[in-house]
């Protein structure tokens, strides 16, 4: 996949000491990793600590990364192990869904696996969800379909193109335009 090549490119640069390349990998995957770790560690502050440690570990382990798996898969395993080690160090029991969580795709598409959340967090999540739903409802049909197929169903651009009977370039453009519109809607929340 083209994007995986992009990751490899960044990994190659980071291995040669280009810290900015690793910064971009952090930016790209921080949300996913934070999501993942928050399934293990409930507290956001702790989850940030553990996520930071996972990324630092990954950076230091980069020389040993041979690219036999995708970078994200490798990073995902480091994150899970870091979270588990953290819980062990805290003498807390790891959550029970860890077998399912071993699969990055499965865990990502099944947010119900997460642990229970604090009321403030739930309120924030609810507000974000409402804003997102409203923004998506206001999207033109083709943009809404494209972004939902991508984000909810996890289809590749090629698969979306086949499903929507349009060129891959059009899919890319539609997904971007959908994101752009949604981003405008959620920006006030994120800037708050």
């Amino acid at each position: 996949m083209a994007g995986t090549d992009g990751d490899q490119l960044l990994v190659g640069r980071a291995k040669r000491g280009d810290r900015r390349a690793f910064d971009l990998l952090v930016l790209k995957y921080q949300q996913k990793i934070l999501n993942l770790i928050m399934r293990y560690v409930r507290d956001q502050t702790e989850a940030l600590d553990v996520s930071q440690e996972a990324f630092v570990k990954a950076y230091r382990a980069l020389p040993g990364f041979r690219g036999e798996s995708a970078f994200y898969t490798w990073l995902y395993r480091i994150a899970i192990n870091t979270a588990k080690n953290y819980l062990v160090a805290q003498q807390r029991k790891p959550v029970e869904y860890e077998l399912d969580a071993q699969d990055p795709e499965y865990a990502e598409r099944n947010p119900h696996l997460r642990d229970e959340e604090d009321p403030e967090g739930l309120a924030m999540q609810e507000q974000l969800r409402e804003t997102l739903e409203k923004a998506i409802a206001e999207l033109p049909e083709e943009l809404r379909t494209a972004i939902m197929l991508r984000e909810i169903e996890g289809l590749s651009y090629e698969e979306i193109a086949a499903a929507m009977d349009c060129p891959v370039g059009t899919v890319r453009s539609r997904i971007f335009r959908a994101r752009e519109a949604i981003e405008v809607a959620i920006r006030p929340l994120t800037d708050a």
Partner: protein
Amino acid sequence: MTTDPDNNPLLDEQLSAWLDDELPRAEVDLLISRLVSSPACQARLARYSLIGSGLRGGPAARASGELAALRLAGRVRAALDEPTGAPQQAAALGPNRTLSYAMAAGLALVAVLLTVVQGPLRRSIGTPVQASAKTVVAAPVPASIRQASLSSQRMTNYLVYHGEYSGLLSARVTESHIINNRPYAAAVQTTDRLPAR
């Protein structure tokens, strides 16, 4: 005319595709070079990422989104900027140093055993072993190890006195050796009751 990287739809579209792992490699280089120098683009990347997380209801979405995540990126950067050489060096040095000590102790033990064993062998077997034993003895041995080595007679006495700690067979072998070797038997009779020096 220069393009403002903070307000460039083409760049944002590349960003969106890159987030989905769908950006052709040919475009990645250019995107990365722009992305590294634009905090605004980085923030946009985080928000794009948040959209997916929010749509899927991921728990990080509740953490005011990019907020937590952007802090995370900065924290990782800061953590990597911290000097980490010293602890890593110490950690790397630890096992090596232990290994060196273990090797030194092992060599010392071998030297002691060679010194101890050479006496009985020299007397019981004869000249050829004597020659090889001389070769061993000729090697420089630290003073501490020389002091630690026992005389062959004292070693024999030790083995006899502590025979109850060894196997029956080895005790018999030791005793038979002593009995069959008259010079040794005589030496033991005259010296084994002497107080240790």
